[in-house]
């Protein structure tokens, strides 16, 4: 039950993109079409879950016991960058169809601040391994939800008559603002 509440809270109440402002670059960058948006969302879900587990272990078994807490940022970003490369190589060998679907998005994920952000938040909140993994999956689902809804709206937006100065990024940002306003309605859900 506790875990279900955790997922609902991460997806709806404090959505990673619309309330916490993590992962804005892919949110604005690859939200032109629903198909690319879902590909990106899948890749983020996969990497975020794996990265959270690995960084949790590094924090717990290497950084904390040896008193190397100050190296956290450097260690985490290197691990995430390496992990993305490894995931890419493994996927290419093991599951070519999955690689076809997610491959192009993988290199972009290293600089997706949502991955590093969630890894840092898990250490900050002192979750255990299971809680941390559930939290990462919940946040990835929240990212997927926000990204796919936003892509759907933007597909429709292309057919609208938008004032010249507002075309492109400005109107997308205003729409994201309204979407974020809608998500505030979930505020007292949990």
């Amino acid at each position: 039950m506790e875990y279900i509440i955790m997922i609902i809270s991460a997806v709806l109440v404090s959505n990673i993109v619309l309330a916490n402002f993590l992962g804005i670059c892919p949110f604005l960058g690859v939200s032109g079409k629903i198909t690319t948006a879902s590909g990106m969302a899948g890749a983020v879900l996969f990497v975020m879950a794996v990265a959270s587990i690995v960084t949790w272990m590094i924090q717990q078994y290497i950084l904390t016991p040896f008193g190397l807490g100050f190296l956290q940022t450097i260690a985490f970003i290197l691990v995430i960058a390496a992990l993305v490369q490894v995931v890419e190589i493994i996927l290419k060998k093991v599951s070519p169809p999955l690689y076809q679907a997610l491959g192009v998005f993988l290199p972009l994920i290293t600089t997706n601040c949502a991955i590093l952000g969630v890894a840092l938040l898990i250490t900050q909140k002192e979750y255990n391994l299971i809680e941390g993994t559930i939290y990462a999956i919940g946040n990835a689902l929240g990212f997927a939800l926000a990204l796919i809804i936003f892509a759907g709206i933007r597909e429709h937006l292309e057919l609208m008559e938008v004032p010249k100065g507002m075309r492109g990024m400005p109107i997308a940002l205003v729409v994201a603002g309204i979407l974020s306003l809608a998500f505030m309605g979930f505020a007292n859900l949990v």
């Binding site: 670059c25 290197l78 603002g177 974020s180």
Partner: protein, 194 residues
């Protein structure tokens, strides 16, 4: 290259936030007040300038294939310095900015300038470029922070000018998106005359 032009391009022509739309996460997350925006801007300026200097110094020693991980380590080292210094000397601001200080590492502006400029130019131009881009970023963040604080709290840098509650939504997350959207539209209007 004309150093003056190199310095000022970050403010208007290639402003990282308003024109190139890079580094959106800290832009939206840390601008709930002018002072937070300025703090984030200064922290990023320091990282950007120092990383540009070091990367342009080591650019000939770094093998091409592993340059990105090496650049990331250089950037992460300076981010750690900023993180520790801020925690020591400005704990209130450090608590406000929270995880967005370590997240300067994945700010696309920093790695973008390292890759596009510092790895191709000499130390002095790289330093000027980093300083200009960083200050342009700081200026954009302070501007957005001021707008949100003025509308959301009727105050500027903490000085209240109307003694009532403001339009709260501008301080909350939706206001960040909406305010930035309209600011970019306004800047498009002024610069491109659409």
């Amino acid at each position: 290259m004309d150093q003056m032009k190199n310095f000022t391009k970050g403010f208007f022509k290639d402003n990282p936030v308003f024109v190139m739309l890079l580094g959106m996460c800290p832009t939206l997350a840390t601008t709930s007040s002018a002072i937070n925006g300025l703090g984030m801007g200064i922290a990023t300026t320091f990282v950007l300038t120092m990383a540009n200097i070091v990367i342009s110094l080591i650019k000939n020693l770094v093998p091409d294939k592993v340059r990105i991980p090496i650049f990331i380590v250089v950037v992460a080292s300076f981010v750690t310095i900023v993180d520790l210094v801020m925690a020591g000397y400005a704990p209130a601001l450090h608590a406000q900015l929270g995880i967005f200080i370590p997240l300067i590492v994945v700010n696309c502006i920093v790695l973008g300038r390292a890759e596009a400029f510092a790895s191709r130019n000499n130390v002095f131009s790289s330093m000027i470029d980093g300083l200009g881009m960083g200050l342009g970023f700081a200026m954009a963040l302070t501007l957005l922070g001021s707008v949100r604080e003025m509308l959301g709290n009727y105050s500027l840098f903490g000085h209240k000018f109307i003694q009532t509650d403001g339009i709260l939504v501008f301080i909350l997350s939706p206001g960040a998106f909406i305010a930035l959207g309209f600011l970019i539209a306004l800047i498009n209007k002024v610069t491109k005359k659409v």
